[in-house]
Amino acid sequence: MATLHLVFHPPRGPGVPAWFGRLRTGDAVFLLGDALHGIRENGPWRSLVPPAEGTRFYALKDDLLRRGIAAPDGLNPVDDAGFVALAVEYRTSVTWS
């Protein structure tokens, strides 16, 4: 079964974050709040989206707007209802903060 990963923390360095190593094909990543800074144009997480292995990435439109970040290819902007739809679609979720 696939998992929805809720990521709340901003990047802590230039490398691949620990949570990225805990994804498997079919999992989804939801970047929330300051986690969005990771996917700025030169942010350390930008190159992870979209990953080679079909993981999907999501973020709230509001969070993107508020931080002035344009969604890169492979990141799906959703509204609150979209967040709920993901939580329905994925049977388990885990939070990285």
């Binding site: 609150d80 209802a81 709920v84 939580a87 329905v88």
Partner: protein, 131 residues
């Protein structure tokens, strides 16, 4: 006010909130619950643990432009029948509630034990942690 669509056989949620009210996690939890209810899903219980128990401090009388998360949770609980439960041990440890002095928690919240969180996990089809 939150419009609740009545539909059959929809997924149910239980939420764990471990973060203080001014955290990103706390805000995300509320937005999630509000949207879930708005879409007709049932949030059977929200359990406030750890620093999350600070949600249950009675909010100051309105006046400023900010409406506290406490007030917004209480409104959602009333309109959509969401059970807001505070962990008694965590609340007592932080001075938010006291069994002996009868100090009150904010309207819409109640105090319970960890068993009520376990029950919610067993009843709900989806559990999310906002920690």
């Amino acid at each position: 006010m939150y419009k609740v669509l009545v539909t059959g056989n929809m997924v149910t949620f239980a939420l764990l909130i471990n973060s203080a009210p001014h955290s990103a996690q706390a805000h995300a939890a509320f937005r999630f619950a509000r949207a879930a209810v708005g879409q007709g899903y049932r949030v059977i219980r929200v359990f406030f643990h750890g620093e999350g128990v600070y949600h249950a401090l009675p909010p100051s009388p309105p006046g400023g432009s900010e409406v506290s998360l406490t007030t917004r949770w209480a409104e959602l609980a009333r309109d959509a029948n969401v059970d807001l439960v505070l962990c008694s041990a965590a609340a007592e440890r932080r001075g938010v509630w006291s069994g002996e002095s009868g100090r009150a928690v904010a309207e819409g919240f109640r105090v319970g034990g960890l068993g009520q969180w376990v029950e919610a996990c067993l009843q709900a089809e989806r559990t999310l942690s906002f920690t």
